[in-house]
Amino acid sequence: MENIKAEKTMGVKEVIEEASRCLLCLDAPCSKMCPAGTDPAKFIRSVRFLNFKGAAETIRENNPLGSLCARLCPVEKYCELGCLRSGIDHPIDIASIQTYVTDFERENNMQILAKGVPNGKKVAIVGSGPSALSAAAELAREGYSVTVYEKQSKIGGYLRYGIPEYRLPTNVLDYEIERIKNLGVQFVLNKNIGIDIPFSEIEKSFDAVIVCLGLGKGKMIPPFIGKENVITAVDLLSKLKEGEIIELPDTVLVVGGGDVAMDVITSLKNKGVKKVVDVVYEEMNEFKASNKEKEIAFPLVDSLICGYIPTNMTNNEVEFKHRFIDSTLKIKADLIVLAVGQEVESASLPFVFKKGEAERYSEKVFFAGDIAHDDKSVVAAVKTGKEAAENVAKILGGK
């Protein structure tokens, strides 16, 4: 896994050079386009004026998971899409500047976020993924007593189990979690709410509850349902990350073209799989994966075929048919990985979901993460976590 380095980290000269390309716009579009409310224009300006510590403060101030977003955000859809430098050549590499600054912050052991004065109010958070961590940090800064319940044995949700090491080094995630613990947030692990503890009990014992569920379960679609040698991308990535899979076959067929499919391709090639073939529903001009992911996965994938829908699977052979042209395709592989979307795993919880999004439940229960009404990305999770914290503060009156 270590042989692929997604992180092309900049040195100090390069980061200043990149920041010097910034036009320092009035009313900068980049800052308006971050769902999490990060303020790239301000922290880039700080870098330009050699104030790295101030840049780190600006990032943290607005985004408690700034160093994760720096690595995971599909910036070309947000801040970099707004960058006016594109009118000259290409946008500022905001993600790399943010990575540099948050690395600088970590190396200098800066403690920017501080615990608020205790206000006597208790909030429970169900789940420990990005939206949960974001909500927990915001509430702890406001003086709330925050307890996070996680069904797994480690904190982080999809960040921990779904995102490959080369995209998010474990030490970076651990450090981010550590600083949220430093804010006084309590983590209760191996407790599945709804099974180990009834939801009603949590609701009763806390002044407010934020349910932070992601789309944690990989989707199974026909014709793959019930077939052998088929695994969802989520399961595969989690097993790979946890070191459960030691041996992989020689040929793998990946179905899907989003970021998760790219993660699968890169992870499999890193593990030495000889042939990885990816078949994608979207055609090239509608390709879903982010530029950063494509940059890494495209040179690695052995074959990439666009525009095909799976129609049949017999033994290990999958048949596809093109969406628009008269064409069929048969591919045989030892293992088939489905990266065709994810769904929420919520059987044990008393909520109603409509298109994967949770319906209003009670006065004091809020939702964040993929089940909230928003994009399904890490940066959107940070945003919905922040918003849920804000809504909790509204009903509980804050300090």
């Binding site: 040195g11 004026f49 101030g54 403060e57 101030e61 976020l113 503060a393």
Partner: protein, 423 residues
């Protein structure tokens, strides 16, 4: 996000206030007397953005008519960096004396805890004295005497005055007759030795010194039209040069003053190419208590004060000080006459071949600009070091694009006494 939520703000907070000529500044950052402090609205915006003080654009005598040229600026670039230096032909305040005084009154009414310094310029003792009286009455906290503007159209005003100690002394006396406000005299760098002028000003009653004003310059020449820039109806003129390129000149005067035993403690407001908190800290370490800026504001806006303040606070934190005054002059004693430097040793460069990309820039510069101590291994694409030729100048380290060359072995010259060396 609700405003209340923003109270979780954990940006660093340190006391940047400093006392200068008996006046307390909320922070050391001031607009210098220039186009950036031209009227009420501009100064108010500067205060609102975070500047601690303003030196209001120089007010001249009632009968002095300002008649500006167009265009009036030029800038020196190097590679893709604009504004390495900046040339300005604008003169003193364009508004009438009455308008300027009215703005000063309003600014002091609405910003009582911010500092307002009135910059004035007369052309005889009488109107220096009158101007001092008027700005005092309008409520200014301090007076700055502009003895140094290089683009005035009258030889009785501007930098020619600032090179004449007798004239400076008599004008300082005149200002002190007009007002008892604390007063600083602003120096021109267009002079070999500033010390006699400063001493004359102090004799005349100046309480402090502001330095430097702009450097006389011609920035660029248009190669097709054969005219200096900026072109004003086919001609151009010598005028003041400012910005980053002038910082070393300002720091030179600043440190030189501190070497004179009589001027060791004279309060100084530093000016010259300040753009980042690092520039600010350099001026402070060499003895400036307050700082003034224009060019960086003209290029980037008043907002530069945000990173100046925040960065300086972090620096104070790193240095372990709670008051800015503790940093003033900490580096002054490090600048000594050249004959007092230790010449007993050579420190050789140390090349990190792992970092080296093999560009050979060090070899080129060492051969063409130094002592031919580096040659190039063409096969390996690495510099080869010949210690017998190296004089330890470290030009190689300065041109290396990846910082692969550092300071290595220290060798004492024959017959010199070994001692511990501070690199």
């Amino acid at each position: 996000m609700s405003p209340k939520y923003l109270e979780g703000n954990k940006m660093i907070s340190k006391d940047l206030s400093i006392e200068f000529l008996g006046v307390k500044f909320p922070n050391p950052f001031c607009l210098s007397s220039s186009p950036v402090g031209n009227d009420y609205d501009m100064c108010a915006k500067a205060y609102d953005t975070g500047f601690g003080g303003v030196v209001f654009k120089t007010i001249g005598p009632k009968d002095y008519v300002v008649d500006e040229v167009s265009p009036r600026f030029d800038s020196l670039s190097k590679e893709s960096t604009p504004f390495v230096g900046f040339k300005n032909m604008e003169q003193i305040a364009e508004h009438s004396l009455e308008e300027n005084l009215r703005d000063i009154i309003r600014l002091k009414n609405n910003y009582p805890s911010h500092v307002l310094i009135a910059s004035i310029m007369g052309n005889n003792e009488k109107n220096w004295e009158d101007l001092a009286r008027l700005v005092d009455k309008a409520g200014a906290d301090m007076i700055e005497m502009n003895l140094s503007c290089p683009q005035m159209t009258s030889h009785a005003m501007g930098s020619d005055v600032g090179t004449n100690p007798e004239l400076c002394e008599s004008y300082c006396r005149a200002v002190k007759r007009g007002s008892r406000l604390p007063m600083m005299a602003k120096m021109t760098p267009n002079i070999t030795d500033m010390v006699p002028v400063i001493k004359a000003c102090l004799r005349g009653g100046a309480d402090g010194i502001a330095l430097i004003n702009t450097v006389k310059s011609v920035c660029n020449v248009d190669l097709e039209k054969h005219v200096g820039l900026p072109i004003v109806d086919g001609k151009s003129s010598v005028s003041g040069y400012s910005g980053k390129a002038t910082k070393p000149i300002a720091l030179r005067f600043l440190s030189q003053i501190r070497q004179d035993p009589d001027l060791k403690d004279v309060p100084i407001s530093g000016i010259g190419g300040i753009e980042t908190w690092r520039d600010a800290a350099e001026f402070i370490l060499l003895g400036a208590s307050t700082l003034q800026m224009t060019t960086s504001i003209m290029q980037y806006g008043y907002r530069i004060v945000e990173d100046l303040s925040n960065g300086l606070m972090h620096y104070m934190e790193d240095e372990g000080v709670d008051h800015l005054s503790e940093l003033v002059g900490l580096a002054s004693s490090s600048i000594v006459p050249a004959e007092n430097l230790n010449r007993d040793y050579i420190v050789y460069p140390l090349i990190d071949n792992d970092k080296c990309l093999g560009c050979g820039r060090c070899v080129i510069s060492c051969y063409d600009g130094a002592h031919q101590a580096l040659s190039f291994d063409e096969k390996e694409r690495k510099p080869v070091f010949d210690k017998t030729k190296c004089v330890g100048c470290h030009l190689c380290a300065m041109v290396c694009p990846v910082g692969a060359i550092s300071k290595g072995e220290i060798v004492f010259k024959p017959g010199r006494t070994k001692k511990e060396i501070k690199l």
